[in-house]
Point group: C2
Chain length 134, copies 2
């Protein structure tokens, strides 16, 4: 379901984009919780087509594994080979001067409360999350 990057720089390339870094930071802080696209859309407040493309890039770089479950596709951070854990530790250690990740994480928590039996049950709720958190 995922491939190992042949060139090491691809791993850094994968994180060299604000949107992708937001995705990874969200998932790394949450102890490698899985998330589906609509949950990410509501957390980052970005259009689904945009996040879908960035998720594909992360997947191709070997950082993300995805699997379909009904009409939802769940994404999870890959932790092998071992240097990926080291990479996530770096991501975790990054500063957050503009409080972007803090805000993303708050929305993510709120959104995850809508789950039932650990599964996503609702679709995109962006409008609600947008008005709720400014």
């Amino acid at each position: 379901m995922h491939s190992i990057a042949v060139h090491s720089e691809e791993v850094f390339q994968a994180l060299a984009d604000e949107t992708r870094l937001r995705i990874v930071r969200l998932m790394v802080v949450e102890a490698h919780e899985r998330a589906c696209l609509c949950e990410l859309v509501d957390s980052l407040l970005e259009p689904s087509y945009k996040l879908s493309r960035h998720l594909a890039i992360l997947r191709r770089a070997g950082l993300l594994a995805s699997h379909k479950e009904g009409r939802w596709v769940y994404h999870r951070l890959v932790t092998k080979p071992a240097y990926l854990k080291q990479l996530y530790a770096t991501v975790k250690a990054l500063p957050d001067p503009r409080k972007i990740y803090r805000a993303d994480l708050k929305r993510f928590h709120d959104r995850m409360r809508l789950r039932e039996d650990g599964r996503c049950q609702v679709g995109i709720q962006s409008d609600a999350f947008r008005s709720e958190t400014g």
Copy 2:
């Protein structure tokens, strides 16, 4: 002499290029040894104008500090803020399937033996290093 990246992804962007990753890997393996441009030219076997540009990018990203000494400019990895050390640990942990860093490092060692009193004394010797190591 160096600035802190405002956006976290700039740090990863800095390493998202093979040449820059080769530079950083060389310097990180050598316990943060300093190196001048001509020593890097002989180690990586890349033209000086190319490396000079990549060094400038690393400097702007806050990973490298440079200072002039006579006609040589010495470069050294920056280790603050703390998450940079974490980043270097990741770089150190990367695999080297194509043995590129291994070869770079060998030439770097050979080249560093030409120093006197810890200073570079000779200019670009690429031809010698090229023929020596294939």
